[in-house]
């Protein structure tokens, strides 16, 4: 090793030092906390060591199971709608035969919701979806589509659906941009060849666009999965007291973790929940990854 190499290490050291203090250390600390009954008071090192007790509680915890199911329901509906919407829009805007104008304008418009702070979005939808005084019910009543106001945020299924739709609205623009870029990245030759061979739009989509988009789709699904399983802000802000809405239907895994830690101050247990969440995301990311690549082999 010559002296030039040593300087290299010196120059990259700041990142590693900062990362170990602000990244690695908290991760290890919360692992340690998950083996204690730490209550958020004093030093975590002075809390009682309880071994695997918190994890034993986690496995038996019916409320965590409910949070797990809620999170999947909300994410599942959201990702299907989001992908479908983004794909349709991306295909329309990239269609060689249509040659639509103003793509960049629409791209900006679609992306706009994503730029708003989540708290304003939550407040906006609280106004729109309010039971007796909301705009949506007012509109539907006036149009005669419903005869009684619907308590959108007061019933488990509609509340979950509302959160899914808000998430879709927030994120379809982002997905659209990625998929659109993916389609743009596919060589025009394929589409021209398909056109010459007389393939219609549907055939082109299923035989050319979709297979070639697969890596992009996997990227979108996995990043959305990782983000979706950590869903927190909208359910937190839209449910009263941040407690998770009607019959706990909006309690996602991270909301549950948050309440355990910062509301009830069970930091030890919340740390165990965090590691449980980490394992779940890891396992499902691998499953999605393997599952989508399987056919190719």
């Amino acid at each position: 090793m010559n002296s030039k190499n040593k300087y290299g290490y010196l120059f990259i050291s700041p990142f590693f030092i900062v990362f170990s203090i602000f990244g690695v250390y908290p991760i290890l600390l919360s692992l340690y906390m998950s083996f204690t009954d730490y209550k958020g008071i004093g030093s975590p090192y002075s809390a009682n060591w309880v071994g695997l007790q918190q994890y034993a509680r986690l496995i038996k915890d019916a409320y965590f199971l409910q949070a797990f199911i809620n999170t999947w329901k909300i994410w599942g509906v959201n990702i299907i709608l989001q992908l479908a919407l983004a794909l349709i829009l991306a295909v329309i805007f990239s269609d060689m035969r249509l040659k639509l104008k103003g793509v960049s304008l629409f791209r900006a418009i679609f992306y706009l919701p994503n730029l708003m702070t989540v708290s304003s979005v939550a407040l906006l939808f609280l106004y729109i979806l309010d039971w007796h005084h909301g705009a949506l019910n007012g509109l539907l009543l006036r149009a005669g589509l419903i005869s009684k106001p619907v308590n959108w945020l007061g019933q488990p299924h509609t509340a979950q659906l509302a959160v899914s739709l808000i998430q879709t609205w927030l994120w379809f623009g982002h997905t659209f941009i990625i998929i659109f870029a993916g389609i743009e990245g596919i060589s025009k030759d394929y589409f021209e060849a398909a056109m010459i061979d007389g393939a219609n739009r549907v055939q082109t989509f299923f035989k050319v666009t979709l297979p070639l988009l697969k890596p992009i789709m996997i990227y979108v699904v996995i990043t959305s999965l990782i983000g979706g399983l950590q869903l927190f802000e909208i359910p937190f802000l839209i449910s009263q007291n941040g407690l998770g809405g009607p019959e706990g239907s909006l309690v996602t895994m991270v909301l549950y973790l948050f309440n355990q830690a910062f509301k009830y101050r069970n930091f030890g247990y919340a740390a165990a929940v965090a590691y449980g969440l980490f394992l779940i995301i890891l396992v499902f990311s691998v499953i999605v990854f393997k599952g989508m690549f399987k056919e190719e082999v």
């Binding site: 300087y7 010196l10 120059f11 050291s13 700041p14 030092i17 900062v18 203090i21 958020g40 008071i41 004093g42 915890d61 409320y63 106004y127 309010d130 039971w131 007796h132 005084h133 019910n137 007012g138 009543l141 006036r142 005669g144 005869s147 009684k148 106001p149 007061g154 009263q240 007291n241 941040g242 407690l243 009607p246 019959e247 309440n259 355990q260 910062f262 509301k263 009830y264 069970n266 247990y269």
Partner: protein, 450 residues
Amino acid sequence: MKMKKYLSILLSTVVVATSLVGCGPKTGEKSKTLEVKKDKVLRVWSFTDELKKPLEYFEKKYGIKTELTIIPTENYASKIQPVLESGVGAPDVFTAEIAWLKQWTDLPYWENLSEDPYNADEWEKDYVPYVFNLGKDSKGNVKALSWQATPGGFIYKRWIARKVWGNDDPAFVAEKLSTMENFLKAAEELKKAGYKILPDEGALRWFAKGSDPKPWVNEKNELQLTQAQIDFMDYQKKLRDNEYTAMAPEWSPAWFASMQGPVPVNAGWEKDINKVKGNKTEVFGYVMPTWGLHYVIKPNAKNTAGDWGLTNGPSPYFWGGTWIGIYSGSDNKGAAWEFVKMMTHDEEFLNWWYKETGDLLSYKPVTDKVKDSASDSFLKGQNHYQFFLKEADKINPNIVTKYDQGIDNIWGNVVSEYVNGKKTKEEAINEFYKQVKNAYPEIITPLDKK
């Protein structure tokens, strides 16, 4: 070449060093005499903007610069606690709402004001007893003080009382609402005249607590659900089923709007939807304490000022309150103590504060002076001071526990599931026990005994 080497070492040390700023150990040496540092900025954290004016007053009076950090109530505890734990970027003075008070008095966050040089124990006789007692830790040391007392009442619109009953006198209305049976009768009379007695059913919770005041958790760490709480589940359901409320939940946009004037009627009110269009209803009154009158209702009902009344509901209660103390790790305790003293024990300031806000103070030398002459023009000249002071005497501070906010929320949620018809009474109570156990594993619930 050597130059380059030194330069690179220097650069990387600077980068590392700057990344470590803020991690230094806190310095917290104690001295018996307090030095008031005039050149230091006094940092204050709170969860409302209530302290803004007092701080301006303080700046003028003492010539000390101050900085107020306001963190919304929902996030206050989770934001301030890590700061108080680590001492990094911590305030010199911070306030607590009653929800966190009992948790924090027993932690080493607040300076012990019973000790030298503060000796706040000597002030006990100067305060409304419950307010002073709540600021003590479990050993009886004073950790925080408060300038206000926050008993509650029923704040109503006089013109509705005149229209429905031909009488808007507080004593008359108190009689109308004196028991829950009477309360429901009054609700029916108001409904017939096109009004709603309350904005939502949840407002009844204070009367539920007030009619059998017991702490949620007793000294054996057992959860206590009183019969009164269970009875009030049915009262809430009656309010809902008979459509006695405007279905405008507390703090919702509709709730605020209902203070200003009529709000869109609950569309479930009429079977025929066509009749509902454009129909509006008006809320008769609010279950609110002192601060609710001054900071919530007054600013939202400017056009009807002077035609409101204040009276008793079925039971006395209190709600909220702000306590203030000195951060134990502060290096500016002298100025911090000056501010706390001014806020809670300075007759000149408190007199000014009373004139400014009309808020109910806890400091007797001032309340004794103003209680006979007080009158609130918003309440048609009614003497709110005498009313609230009498209510404050009925308050039992021993029912406050550190679990209150969490358990109140859980209870409110299961009761509304019962009111909405999602759960039977037994299911709701069972769910309450389960959720309390899940939140606070150390509490013993009836389910543990089975």
